[in-house]
Symmetry: C2
Subunit: 162 residues, 2 copies
DNA sequence: GGCAGATCGATGACATGTCAACGAAAGCGT
DNA sequence: ACGCTTTCGTTGACATGTCATCGATCTGCC
């Protein structure tokens, strides 16, 4: 591959637009979330994933995989959230090395009061700006890319296979 | 707004897909970039923006605005890049408080040798997975969102207007 | 049973990003 | 020329993310 295939004008426009949107959307959503609910996006995602489970509790491993976070990151983050009273750690019955994260009442309260505003922000700054066709296209295209990248946890491996 | 308008199935699919793609794409592109060129995405973006200017140099302010970075972040990052010999800081002729970032030969070398592989990765994991219509749709939709969010630097202000 | 290797989660050192504050220098109105 | 305000970039304290490592436990195989 001597001569790389650079992006043509349309591709470049899509790529730059994507990166810029990403950044601006992040900034704005994070700003509103902090202001309105006192949560970071990371906090919100953790609480949101937990609240989607029947018991409001998940194995640490399971949660890390769903969020595509490293276990280390999750562990550190949970320590901070625990100190704020949003979650607790419980021992895991069937696996003595593991533990379970659980929503506290305060955590459930936090996500339930934050969610409407956050969803509204997502609508205001993204979804409601798109035509139905664009929503579908975005859904199709993102899922295709996700599948291609192996939606499965691309967990960093420690072993270097021969 | 008592009853929030939740996302319907299609919207939810688009939103979740977007977030997941974002994360996976980031991880993969960063991984390849580090491995192939020894650069982080942040490094790449800085070098890339600089190399797009005629002189390979920019006011710090200007660069920060283009990248939607805080000046603090840029300043810290440049310090690190400077230590690695990728850029230098020069005094600014027409404004004694400012300075100018400039690509070093090593910096130019770094971006020029990293770019083909990076573009190829962007193609492989995103662009080439899309139909031409999807590329156009992505371009249109992202730019609309960017405009809506005020593409202009939403610089954090220190003043709280009444 | 018992050992070898994998997995789980925690931890500490370090890299990176954010935030508030600062000194220096411009801009601006008078 | 003089102050008042803004802008520029840096800095240090702190929040957050990454990476390597660890002890404990589980799993599979003998």
């Amino acid at each position: 591959m001597d001569t790389p295939r650079w992006l043509d004008a349309r591709e470049d426009r899509a790529w730059r637009g994507y990166r810029r949107m990403r950044r601006l959307l992040d900034l704005e959503l994070a700003r509103e979330l902090t202001q309105d609910a006192g949560l970071s996006e990371a906090d919100y995602d953790v609480l949101s994933d937990l609240s989607e489970t029947p018991q409001g509790r998940l194995r640490l491993r399971e949660l890390a995989d769903r969020m595509l976070w490293s276990r280390s990151r999750l562990s550190h983050h949970l320590t901070r959230m625990q100190q704020r009273g949003l979650v607790t750690r419980e021992e895991c019955a069937d696996d003595a090395r593991g533990s379970v994260v659980a929503l506290t009442p305060a955590g459930r309260q936090a996500i339930e009061s934050a969610a409407p505003g956050h969803v509204a922000a997502v609508r205001r700054h993204l979804i409601d700006l798109l035509t139905p066709a664009e929503v579908d296209a975005l859904g199709a295209l993102t899922h295709r890319v996700v599948d291609h990248l192996g939606g499965r946890a691309p967990r960093p491996r420690h072993d270097a296979e021969v």
